[in-house]
């Protein structure tokens, strides 16, 4: 190697061994030079950002962990014990934050339903799950099993829906909404693309109406006036009404995403299916919908994330989701004023679940990317 420079004629053309890259252009130093200190301006920005980051991390770590108080009887105790966050308020109410007012003796039921949820989701989310075929039947049966476990009947004590709350309620509304809005949304999208004028116009107006109004107005309709639209004397459960509204609201957004997918399919696909003599439903089921759904998966997952986050709005019509529990806690004179801790705790829960969903969507996008 050292001779190479002095005696260039020693190698046949193309036989010269590879030289190491110039100093400072490879490895950690090279990476830093390229990405952090490429110019004086860049260096200044890096230093500023680093200072900002340091300040942020130290103050956040101090408030969150180092100076935080975990055990205390009231806000005053907390403030005496440390200058950071007062997590005692969460610790004392953690059961309410998780289950609402679900009876303590029956809490194994939602926990079991939660664990079974992963078994039901696994074959749907990952195509390499062992025994996938059998597991999918379990996934189909899961909503009924979970409903039975949580509500009761058939040998289990019936737990009234008014006592549902906390993260459990978020998951109930979110998962029911997600599961029910997908088929309805697909039907609406197909209706919007239909050749039949009256079907198209009904679907378009339904979708545009639902997308044009805020969810909160629909929830108000559900909570205050849905009974007017039912035959006199009927009254049904507030949670069911909310589930219906959340579902149809989300299905309008799903419909738009799926429509985008349907529009992206080349005309040739429809024409080829027609040429094969396929009926409309056969074309849809075998040719267009599978392709459209594949294209629209990222959008669908984004809609699911939005729906999941929107479940928090039920607090405004008086359901006890984590925010509702949080507000109840803050109304307690002992803990009055600890809103930052309470809301940040709930925010963390949402952050982790939504972040996981968006990561999954990225994974799926990569998996389904069958192009070149």
């Amino acid at each position: 190697m050292t001779e190479a420079g002095t005696n260039s004629g020693a190698y046949a053309p193309g036989q010269h061994p590879d030289l190491p890259p110039p100093k400072g252009s490879a490895g950690a130093a090279g990476w830093m030079r390229g990405n952090l200190f490429s110019s004086p301006f860049n260096t200044a920005v890096t230093i500023l950002a680093a200072i900002l980051l340091y300040e942020l991390i130290t103050s956040i770590a101090g408030w969150f962990v180092l100076d935080a108080v975990i055990d205390a009887g009231s806000k005053a105790d907390c403030r005496q014990a440390g200058s950071g966050a007062c997590w005692a308020v969460i610790k004392i109410r953690i059961n309410q934050f998780t289950f609402g007012f679900y009876p303590a003796d029956e809490r194994w039921r939602p926990i079991l339903a939660f664990v079974l949820m992963f078994a039901a989701l696994a074959p749907l989310l990952f195509d390499k799950t062992p025994f996938r075929r059998q597991m999918i039947w379990f996934a189909v049966a899961y909503p009924f099993i979970a409903g039975w476990l949580i509500y009761g009947g058939f040998g289990l004590v019936i737990v009234d829906t008014q006592s549902y709350g906390g993260f459990m309620l978020t998951l109930i509304i979110g998962i029911t909404g997600i599961a029910a809005s997908l088929p309805i949304g697909i039907l609406l999208a197909l209706g919007r693309q239909s050749r039949l004028f009256s079907i198209r116009i009904i679907c378009v107006s339904l979708i545009e109406f639902l997308r044009g109004v805020p969810l909160i107005t629909l929830l108000f309709v559900a909570s205050t006036m849905l009974n007017y639209f039912m035959p006199p004397g009927t009254s049904f459960n507030l949670l069911v009404r909310v589930l219906i509204m959340v579902t149809i609201f989300a299905s309008a957004y799903i419909a738009e995403v799926v429509r985008g997918g349907l529009q992206a399919i080349p005309r040739g696909q429809y024409e080829a299916a027609d040429a094969m003599g396929f009926t409309y439903w056969k074309t849809t089921r075998l040719i267009t919908l599978p392709q459209a759904l594949k294209i629209s998966i990222p959008g669908i997952v984004n809609t699911f994330i939005a729906l999941y986050k929107d479940t928090t709005l039920v607090v405004i019509i008086g359901l006890l989701d984590p925010l509702g529990i949080g507000r109840a806690v803050l109304a307690d004179a002992k803990w009055n004023g600890l809103s930052t801790e309470t809301y940040l705790f709930v925010a963390l829960f949402f952050f982790f679940s939504c972040f996981a969903m968006s990561r999954y969507s990225l994974y799926l996008e990569k998996r389904l990317h069958t192009g070149h």
Binding site: N35, L36, S38, N42, V45, T46, A49, A50, L52, L53, R195, L196, F197, S198, I199, I202, F209, R211, G212, V213, P214, L215, I216, T217, F220, V221, T224, M225, N227, Y228, F229, M230, P231, P232, I305, K309, D310, T311, T312, L313, V315, I316, L323, G326, G337, L338, S339, T340, Y343, L344, V346, A347, F350, F351, C354, F355, S358
Partner: protein, 397 residues
């Protein structure tokens, strides 16, 4: 003998279903019938329920005096003796105020973070990424409640308010900013400003035309800016500085004077802005990435400086990709402003859909109006953005 007769298709009802065209008609008739039957059933139920409750349907309650409730932020003349209609209008204006301020803030923040996300400085890009992911994975209602809580619970009392130059104060009563007082002669300044603005625009157009015709670059932006500022300043001085500021000052337990931005308003606008900015940032990033790298390289090889590459080549093309999703973000922000009710900011939902609804018992009418207004706002914003989108669209042969 029987041959020709069998070729003649037998008349039968099933043919209607087998033939595509007639089947379509049958399906449509059925769907329309079901649709109207459902609506008739719903209306029938409402009538029956109303009759049972001795209620009537009508919008006269809007003019009913007095509304009998106060609103904490009024931009037009209002007190509790006015009608429900007036209260709803106050609420609507409050909704608009949050929407407009929120949209402007969210756009600025979103474009900044979106470009930072693409910075070639690794640390900056990562920081922007963390900002986007933390903000957008937390529900917007939580943002609103969190910021409202921070303002109410952790900011100091007015006596120890955060003080910016003795003119702006931030405390748990909200933000107090100086209030401009327009004296006589301010009209002249305004006229001068308008005239200078028109002049600058005309000059800019002329410069553009000259550049288009001859290729000579005429610097018009800086000169135009100088015209506007200079003329306005001259008029301002000539009229004897006809503007004064009323500064907020601490009297007793709270500030007096100046403009008070309520904690509710500040929390709502700020929360909506940062929440939406995270989504806008992702749209901006996607739009910039959608511009072919060859465009940047071509611009660089023509000798354009980095700033010019961005403003003349990349951004105009990226905007075409950015605008459609940007529209839906604006619409989302406007619709999300209805969450104001959670912290007691009196917007349209909190006035017409909240207190008026409760006081008059007109649930259906109030909610119908609220929904109609949001539908109209959605239509307005999307048609404006469509117009703008058509303007910047790629003109192809």
């Amino acid at each position: 003998m029987t041959g020709p007769a069998t070729l003649q298709p037998a008349y039968s009802w099933s043919r209607i279903w087998r033939e595509e065209k007639s089947r379509g008609v049958v399906i449509q008739i059925m769907v329309v019938l079901i649709f109207f039957a459902t609506i008739a059933w719903l209306i029938g139920n409402v009538t029956a329920n109303f009759a049972a409750l001795d209620k009537t349907f009508g919008f006269k309650f809007l003019w009913q005096l007095p509304a009998n409730y106060d609103i904490n932020q009024v931009l037009i003349d209002y007190n509790s003796q006015y009608s429900h209609l007036r209260a709803a209008l106050v609420g609507l204006i409050n909704t608009f105020l949050v929407a407009v301020v929120g949209i402007v803030l969210a756009t600025i923040l979103g474009f900044t973070v979106g470009t930072l996300r693409l910075s070639n400085n690794w640390l900056v890009a990562r920081l922007a990424y963390v900002y986007i992911e933390t903000i957008r994975n937390v529900p917007v209602l939580l943002h609103i409640l969190l910021w409202h809580g921070i303002i109410i619970n952790t900011l100091p009392h007015p006596r120890r308010a955060l003080n910016v130059g003795d003119a702006t104060f931030l405390s748990n009563r909200g933000l107090y900013v100086p209030c401009p007082l327009f004296e006589d002669g301010f009209g002249w300044v305004a006229i001068a400003f308008a005239a200078a603005l028109i002049g600058a625009i005309l000059y800019h157009r002329r410069a553009h035309r000259i550049q288009m015709e001859t290729g000579h670059q005429v610097h018009s932006v800086l000169i135009g800016l100088a015209i506007v500022i200079g003329v306005t300043l001259l008029a301002f001085l000539a009229a004897g500085s006809p503007i004064g500021f009323e500064l907020p000052a601490l009297r007793g337990f709270n500030f007096q004077g100046g403009i008070n931005l309520l904690p509710e308003f500040v929390a709502l606008t700020w929360a909506l802005s940062i929440y939406t900015s995270a989504f806008i940032a992702e749209n901006v990033r996607g739009g910039i990435l959608a511009v072919n790298k060859g465009q940047t390289e071509a611009a660089q090889s023509l000798g354009l400086r980095p700033g010019k590459v961005l403003s003349l080549v990349v951004l105009p093309q990226a905007l075409r990709v950015i605008i459609p999703p940007l529209t839906s973000q604006y619409l989302n922000l406007t619709k999300n402003s209805s969450l104001a009710i959670a912290i007691g900011y009196m917007d349209l939902v909190a006035t017409l859909g909240g207190i008026t609804l409760m006081q008059t018992g007109r649930e259906i009418e109030s909610m119908m109006l609220v929904m109609l207004v949001y539908l109209l706002i959605s239509l307005l914003i999307s048609s404006f953005m469509n117009w703008y989108n058509n303007r910047v669209r790629l003109v192809e042969r």
